[in-house]
């Protein structure tokens, strides 16, 4: 129970708890780490520890009880997906005019507000930040500390700007958490006002061990694969959607194949056509980019003679064939171009065209 439930990054957790012990917890914290590394879990644990009514100690550091009314109510936010869906549903049932002006929040405890990105754009909007500003100066009622958790760093521009003032001088009883996969995505002015805490990736062996306990229903081979491709993120590994991953990867493979083999493009276009606009297309594109990176990494491991490091162990043979026909310079070039595609996505370039351009640029001039 308590912080001991948090898997990995024990030194980071310990450092944060030491700050709690000395009542020197920062007022604004950026928790950075890959998807599934436990940012949200950790933020909620800290919210509980800040507000626990019968705080306990473990290893000489503050912990929380999980039983008091504050802990229990905060814990109801744990299943973010479910709470988020409830909030979306609640909004759907509002009157048309109210619906437009309503923003999503998750609040299972009066003093702990979780701010998820607002659909359909899946961005944090200015009205959400306004709500934070309006409420943050009220004294906490049931808790000691008002806690605000932004679960994603995709801020609309005005939203990010309006957050600056409150980040700079929050009231003494409030703590703001900003969760992000990439802290570089946040404004430099936001970053400079917060303390950044990074959650690092865990070694594959550690995740494999963890999975052995948590997912006995998977066979050892599957566990080994998931442990590698989940990129060191515990939370991600434990609910890893292998099917979606393999679907994205086969698309990434098609792109690489068309680049390396120089076959005709009809197959490529069939794939890229499916990347449409909207939030769904964005998610799909992101997972394609991520899997393409992981494939390129594997190719590099093979090309530089460290085949034991590859992640996509299940398609080792095919990767080896690829590796024979590419060299380090090509891989570096491809990674560069991929980076450009990613940057283009942030500027809202047309997805299918960007990926087409990426694939054709990689073709070997033979």
């Amino acid at each position: 129970m308590g912080f001991s439930d948090f898997h990995g990054n024990s030194h980071v957790v310990q450092r944060l708890r030491e700050m709690l012990a000395h009542s020197r917890f920062p007022q604004a914290v950026i928790l950075a780490g890959p998807a599934g590394s436990g940012k949200y879990t950790l933020a909620l644990m800290l919210a509980k520890a800040l507000n626990c009514l019968s705080p306990t100690n473990s290893d000489g550091l503050p912990d929380f009880c999980e039983r008091c009314s504050n802990c229990v109510r905060i814990a109801q936010s744990e299943d973010l997906r479910a709470r988020f869906d409830e909030a979306v549903e609640a909004r759907e049932s509002l009157r048309e005019t109210d619906r437009k002006e309503t923003r999503l929040f998750v609040q299972t405890h009066p003093d702990v507000l979780v701010i998820p990105p607002d659909p359909p754009q899946m961005m944090v909007k200015v009205d959400q930040v306004r709500r934070v500003i309006e409420t943050i100066y009220y004294r906490p009622g049931d808790a000691k500390e008002r806690v605000y958790i932004f679960t994603d760093s995709a801020f609309m521009k005005e939203a990010a700007n309006s957050l600056l003032k409150v980040l700079e001088e929050p009231p003494e009883f409030a703590t703001i958490f900003l969760l992000t996969e990439n802290s570089g995505e946040l404004l430099p002015t936001i970053r400079s006002r917060c303390m950044t805490v990074a959650l690092a990736a865990l070694p594959a062996e550690e995740i494999e061990k963890y999975l052995a306990k948590r997912r006995p229903d998977w066979d050892a081979k599957q566990r080994a694969l998931v442990a590698r491709i989940s990129e060191g993120a515990v939370g991600r590994s434990c609910n890893f959607d292998l099917e979606t991953y393999i679907a994205a990867r086969s698309q990434a493979l098609t792109i690489l194949r068309s680049a390396l083999r120089g076959t005709e493009h009809s197959e490529l276009f069939k794939v890229t056509e499916t990347f449409r606009a909207g939030a769904e297309g964005r998610e799909k594109t992101e997972s394609l980019l991520r899997t393409t990176y992981s494939l390129l990494q594997d190719l590099m491991f093979l090309a530089s003679g460290t085949p034991e490091l590859i992640r996509n162990t299940d398609i080792g043979i095919e990767l080896r064939k690829f590796a024979e026909s590419c060299d380090f310079a090509w891989i570096a070039f491809a990674a560069d171009r991929l980076n450009e595609v990613e940057r283009g996505m942030r500027r809202n370039l047309l997805r299918s065209l960007s990926i087409d351009a990426f694939a054709t640029a990689l073709e070997k001039s033979s």
Partner: protein
């Protein structure tokens, strides 16, 4: 779910009451303002109904502000339930004037029967409803209801709505053993009202409270619809409590230091004119039609026995009005935001007002010419014109 909550959920799984439509609707209407319309936290759009003895209590909250009220009811079975607030209010409004029977069914369904009408709505578990702070037993201060109502009406319009200046998003209430003062400002204007000659038991020295704007608005509408003589006020570390008859409003406290307003109250505004409030209001409204849309600046020109008001903008043209006055000092020209003056004139009501000025760069002061029991003054910063 913790054990206690489970026990109470089991214990409150019944409820059956009969209440008159008139009584219920009155309380529902009084509490509507607190129910959040635009919320994605479902429980906040529900009322909590609790029945015990011969009383039905209703609670609504938006977490910062909550309101609890009660009405007489025939309670067949004690218990509690939650009901979607807007729908209930809309529905009860349409019912005939008769007795309404409300009964809790399984799975949080609630049946509402009245005459030949029969409706079922689904609420949520009572344990989901946020708990409310209890009214303190000590340190209660009685404030005359009509005094408080008047003071709120005369200051609340000056509260800032700007989000960046959070300590101005409320009014300051200062209680002393024999007087009550309320101050509100947005940084450009300040409304200050004081009433002495009251007696506040339990106040020693000076007791300062920052009342949030939302609480002020809600309090005002509660006071508008009550015949209670006094308001019970109390506060603890985090919460303010106002009890008006059977209704209890609680608000969380705002943090922060209200600015030192005493320093800006003008002391030597020697140029004073008395004007008829309604005439001044009419003149300013007319002239302001031609003021710059953003700044709303009007020019006040004080001359012997005359006050000239004018405004001009490049787009709409220019306009001038003049009024007779008893003024015989030096000439002076000063600019003010028309809206700020109009707000005051509206709050001050009929009667003459005094405008007191020093020079074109100093704040002007407005006050009713014949303020009997109240010391009411309004300070407006001038504009460069």
């Amino acid at each position: 779910m913790p054990v206690e909550a489970m026990a109470s959920a089991v214990g409150t799984s019944t409820m059956e009451i009969t209440v008159s439509k008139f009584e219920l609707l009155r309380e529902l209407t009084a509490t509507q303002g607190v129910v959040e319309r635009k919320t994605t936290i479902p429980i906040l759009s529900n009322y909590l109904f609790e029945a015990a003895g011969d009383k039905l209590s209703l609670t609504a909250t938006d977490l910062d502000l909550s309101l609890r009220t009660s009405c007489v009811a025939k309670v067949k079975k004690d218990g509690a339930c939650t009901i979607p607030a807007r729908k209930l209010h809309d529905y009860v409004k349409l019912l005939p004037d008769a007795d309404i029977t409300i009964k809790l069914l399984e799975n949080h369904w609630v049946s509402i029967r009245c005459g030949r009408s029969n409706t079922k709505m689904v609420g949520m578990a009572r344990s989901n409803f946020p708990s409310l702070p209890a009214f303190p037993t000590a340190g209660i201060i009685k404030i005359p209801a009509q005094v408080l109502r008047g003071m709120i009406a005369k200051t609340c319009f000056a509260i800032a709505s700007e989000e960046s200046r959070y300590t101005l998003n409320g009014a300051l209430m200062v209680l002393k053993p024999e007087s009550i003062t309320m101050v509100a400002t947005d940084g450009h204007r300040l409304a200050h009202i004081e009433r002495s000659g009251e007696k506040f038991d339990g106040v020693s020295g000076e007791m300062k409270t920052l009342v949030p704007k939302k609480a002020m608005d809600e309090l005002k509408s509660l006071l508008d619809s009550t015949d209670a003589e006094s308001v019970d006020f109390a506060k603890d570390e985090s919460t303010l409590y106002f009890r008006i008859g059977p209704r209890l409003m609680t608000s969380r406290q705002l943090t922060g230091q209200f600015p030192n307003y005493e320093a800006v109250l003008p002391k030597d505004n020697s140029k004073s004119i008395t004007l008829h409030g309604e005439e001044l209001s009419a003149a300013i409204s007319r002239v302001a039609q031609f003021a710059d849309e953003r700044s709303r600046a009007v020019r006040l020109k004080l001359e012997k026995a005359e006050l000239k008001l004018s405004a001009s903008s490049t787009e709409t043209g220019e306009s001038e009005d003049s009024m007779e006055t008893d003024y015989n000092g030096d000439a002076l020209t000063i600019g003010f935001n028309a809206q700020y003056i109009l707000d005051f004139l509206k709050a001050a009501g009929a009667g003459d007002v005094k405008l007191e000025l020093k020079d074109a760069q100093s704040a002007g002061q407005l006050r009713p010419a014949d303020s009997e029991d109240y010391k009411y003054r309004y300070i407006v910063m001038p504009m460069r014109i």
